[in-house]
């Protein structure tokens, strides 16, 4: 299962029937127009924050030899939009973001690890 498949299942399961879910599913069905990469290295998301246009596909790649997660929201307030475990070095996850807004995210295992994507 790749990141997008997992993301789809999370979105479908947790948000089916909500306006948010509709936006995400439409997003997942459309091809991303641009791509950006975020690397997880030495327990940091790099670079962060990033500013991207709507429709950008953002990929996360774990370069640490330990499990991290990419979980939307903040440790104090996860928003359930996406959450994916990257089980060790080389694991990756992609998410397509077409809806403008600010998307904070963090690692559930190391809650001081935080990042942010600003979609315009």
């Amino acid at each position: 299962m790749d990141g997008r498949q997992s993301w789809q299942s999370v979105a479908a399961g947790a948000f089916a029937g909500t306006p948010v879910a509709l936006g995400l599913l439409v997003t997942l069905g459309a091809p991303a127009s641009t791509e950006r990469s975020v690397t997880i290295q030495t327990f940091q998301f790099k670079p962060t924050p990033i500013d991207v246009p709507a429709g950008t596909r953002v990929s996360f790649t774990n370069q640490d030899d330990i499990t991290h997660t990419v979980t939307s929201g903040t440790p104090e307030s996860p928003d359930g939009k996406f959450s994916h475990r990257l089980e060790g070095k080389g694991a990756s996850f992609t998410v397509d973001l077409t809806k403008p807004g600010v998307y904070p995210y963090f690692c559930e295992r190391h809650r001081s690890m935080r990042g942010e994507i600003r979609v315009k």
Binding site: T42, F43, Q44, Q63, D64, D65, I66, R109, H110, R111
Partner: protein, 224 residues
């Protein structure tokens, strides 16, 4: 006791392997460049300064941690708060040492990771103080799991530091500090202070290879 002894043997072996992995290429390079004698003419090199700093900070970590757990177990609240504050200042200093080599981002990432294991030690101490075996066991399990995170962090920062070796060394740090806390809880000061010296002495097995690996990674920074 057998477990502790085997852990000590394991940690010594791990440190030896790490030192050998790091030390040989450096020694070879120095010999080839004819710098060996020059390096021996002073103890005030940048590399020796790094090693000295890391040893001081890591040993201070043990003494302050032991002061904090001893005060906590003895019910001396004001002393505990003072020791805990000093221990956290030491944590910040260690993080700044990491940041001086790997940058602000690494410093910011390291500090919460380092503080995390102190929180687990506090949990263990509370478990001992309240005779809560389940809490003690969970804290020990968390600490053992933490060693993998710590090893992964250092390996990511410096490929000369294998995750498994670092994890074993940190595991021994956990074991030796646990001995201190258990002796303090048993109100056996002789055993406790012997354990403190053992735990502090072991930190050299972490500080020395860390310093060596950093110098190997950034030879230009530490060439004088």
């Amino acid at each position: 006791m057998k477990h502790v002894v085997s852990s000590i043997v394991g940690a010594v072996a791990a440190a030896a392997i790490l030192a050998a992995n790091i030390g040989e290429p450096i020694a070879r390079a120095e010999a080839q460049q004819g710098h060996t004698m020059a390096a021996m003419t002073t103890s005030s090199t940048k590399a020796s300064g790094l090693r000295s700093t890391l040893n001081t900070l890591f040993q201070e970590h043990i003494y302050l941690a032991a002061a904090a757990t001893g005060a906590a177990l003895g019910g001396r609240e004001a002393e505990f708060k003072a020791a805990a504050a000093a221990l956290d200042a030491n944590s910040v200093a260690i993080s700044k040492a990491i940041g001086s080599v790997y940058g602000q981002g690494a410093e910011d990432a390291f500090l919460p990771l380092w503080r995390k294991h102190i929180g687990m030690v506090v949990d263990y101490t509370v478990g001992v103080a309240t005779s809560d075996k389940a809490k003690q066991d969970k804290a020990v399990a968390d600490l053992i799991g933490y060693t993998q995170d710590f090893g992964a962090f250092l390996q990511s920062a410096n490929p000369n530091l294998p995750k498994s070796v670092v994890a074993d060394l940190v595991k021994h740090h956990v074991v030796t500090l646990k001995e201190v806390i258990d002796a303090q809880a048993a109100k056996d000061p002789a055993k406790a202070y012997t354990a403190v010296r053992t735990a502090a002495g072991h930190m050299q097995m972490i500080a020395d290879p860390l310093a060596e690996a950093i110098v190997k990674q950034f030879p230009d920074k530490f060439s004088s």
